[in-house]
């Protein structure tokens, strides 16, 4: 069986700026998989989407989508992929319903023929079907863009940062929708800068500056990238952060919500008393310290520190 997406040694540089967007990039995504590209701005996510949807050419390397070559068989690919770009790209002056009909027509089909696939999402838009797309809220625009990307029953769906700037509740709902689509057999490649969303994917690739830092399941990535780590808090969190960074055995220390995560230098024999004495001597009160497991952002920070 073909993989949904197969990428081999892709390289892409933008000549004007000289920016190297992707460097010797390879990745295999199985049929029916919900695959996440996790990485910050500048990781190369959008460039990869544009290459796979046949909008730009790589400098080097090959890729296949649903078995079709991105260069020789671009017209085959364009018929069977759905693409939701990061930037809202629907017609602002057309209504919700007009946009949907337009995209169906472009793909030689009708809204009615494919309504099953979008029904769950479209019912939420129905009350506003006569509203112009440009007048919708962020969350509603996102739902409409997803409907338009789905209206020709694509085999592979590309979603470029669909949840950026979206609040936590709407983000959760969006991922629930993706679960539904996956169950209908659509392969999905989705990118996000929110690392907690990695947990919603079958597998993920952590990306930084055009390179793959790691590929695995969410649990797999956490499991193999564990390092001894402490979570600390005290009455004065900002001072605590500065002081922990000055502690001689500190490899690095960053804030994680209500606590700071501290990674000690490799080979340092951890003695809790030593650290406590150090902090108490600096006047810290109400210190709470416990051993913890690395979260996805800890792992990302760890891996990206190795790339420099």
């Amino acid at each position: 069986m073909n993989n949904a997406i197969s990428i081999k040694n892709i390289k892409k540089t933008y000549p004007k700026t000289g920016i190297l967007a992707l460097e010797d990039f390879s990745l295999e995504i199985a049929d029916g998989e919900l695959f996440g590209l996790i990485g910050p701005d500048g990781a190369g996510k959008t460039t990869l989407f544009r290459i796979l949807t046949t909008l730009i050419l790589p400098d080097f390397g090959t890729a296949k989508v649903a078995g079709f070559d991105i260069i020789k068989q671009l017209w085959d690919i364009r018929k069977i992929v759905g693409y939701m770009p990061g930037k809202f790209s629907l017609y602002q002056d057309l209504t919700v319903e007009e946009n949907l009909r337009f995209f169906a027509t472009v793909f030689n089909t009708s809204v009615e023929a494919n309504y099953d696939l979008i029904e769950d999402i479209y019912v939420q838009l129905q009350p506003f079907k006569n509203r112009r797309a440009g007048k919708l809220s962020g969350g509603m625009k996102q739902k409409l863009a997803l409907c338009c990307a789905l209206i020709h029953q694509p085999r592979v769906l590309f979603l470029d940062e669909p949840t950026t700037g979206v609040d936590p509740v709407s983000r959760k709902e969006f991922w629930d929708m993706l679960d539904q689509l996956k169950r209908k057999g659509i392969s999905i490649l989705v990118s996000t800068p929110y690392m907690d969303e990695a947990a919603r994917c079958d597998r993920i690739a952590l990306l930084q500056k055009g390179q793959v830092l790691d590929v695995d399941t969410y649990e797999g990535i956490l499991l193999k990238n564990q390092k001894p780590m402490l979570a600390l808090r005290s009455a004065h969190m900002f001072k605590l952060l500065t002081d922990l960074r000055r502690f001689p055995a500190t490899e690095r220390c960053y804030s994680f919500g209500s606590v700071h995560h501290l990674v000690l230098k490799a080979g340092y024999p951890y003695r809790e008393n030593e650290l406590m004495d150090y902090l108490q001597n600096l006047g810290h009160e109400d210190i709470v310290c416990q051993k913890i497991k690395a979260e996805i952002e800890d792992v990302f920070i760890d891996l990206m520190s190795g790339v420099a």
Binding site: P40, P168, F238
Partner: protein, 248 residues
């Protein structure tokens, strides 16, 4: 307590036609405080923030920001606040140095003063090697740091940050918060919106808007205790679920 109040609103309301975007919100923010302004998309955060910045006239209610009345003194008010949005803060075709110099001039700083200030900011940020590149060529993380420094170049009493960290990598995101802490340490009040709930934990107090009203306002610790949950993410979800109006 003798904490100085930098923002005070009473029943601040904004209606568009028969739609009440902001519904009688009353709250206080203190000097040097990091105040997180949370809410779902469409809850009314941007409208409230635009009123506090003197960009939008309220329908009713009162507000004093940095000591100025938002109805009668919107222009004096603007001179004493800084504002940074994710979408537009810097001129892409100007360099970091030019952007800072330009904004400092707009805020009425003196020529001599501007040169020194820009020089010291660039040095403190460690962006010497980027300071003469057009900002559109810079990585997003640097743009955001430079935007923040530009927003506080005139030593405002309050800086408003609208989703300042969207899309940046986890290290840069934390470095950005180090800058926020330092600014607050110097006495600048920080009023910030974010969709990263771990960042809500960094705030001294947070408010949560639901359907145009403030549904809760307290320290992150107190909110987590009140709703018996472990994280601000869960607090957010509990409160936002109570919303009646969908984000339209």
């Amino acid at each position: 307590m003798n904490k100085l109040i930098t923002i005070e609103t009473r029943d601040l309301t904004k209606r568009f036609g028969n739609f009440t975007a902001v519904d009688a919100i009353s709250f206080k923010v203190y000097e040097g405080e990091i105040f997180g302004f949370l809410g779902a998309n469409g809850a009314g955060k941007t409208t409230a923030m635009r009123m506090l910045c003197g960009l939008l006239t309220p329908t009713s209610g009162q507000a004093l920001v940095a000591g100025y009345d938002i109805y009668r003194q919107p222009n004096q008010l603007k001179a004493h606040i800084g504002y940074m949005s994710q979408k537009f803060s810097l001129y892409p075709n100007l360099t970091a140095r030019e952007n800072m110099t330009f904004y400092a001039g707009i805020y009425g700083m003196k020529r001599k003063e501007i040169g020194d200030k820009v020089h010291s900011l660039i040095k403190s940020l460690g962006v010497e090697k980027y300071s003469d590149m057009q900002v559109h060529n810079l990585p997003l993380g640097w743009k955001q740091k430079i935007s923040f420094m530009t927003a506080i170049i005139h030593n405002p009493k309050i800086v408003f940050l609208d989703e300042p960290t969207g899309g940046v990598d986890p290290i840069t995101r934390r470095q950005f918060w180090d800058m926020i802490y330092e600014a607050a340490d110097r006495g600048i009040t920080v009023f910030v919106t974010t969709h990263y709930m771990d960042e809500a934990e960094y705030c001294d107090r947070v408010s949560m808007m639901v359907d145009g009203a403030i549904a809760a306002l307290d320290t992150p610790e107190a909110l987590k205790t009140r709703y018996s949950v472990a994280s601000m993410n869960d607090v957010f979800i509990q409160l936002a679920r109570k919303a009646n109006r969908s984000a339209v």
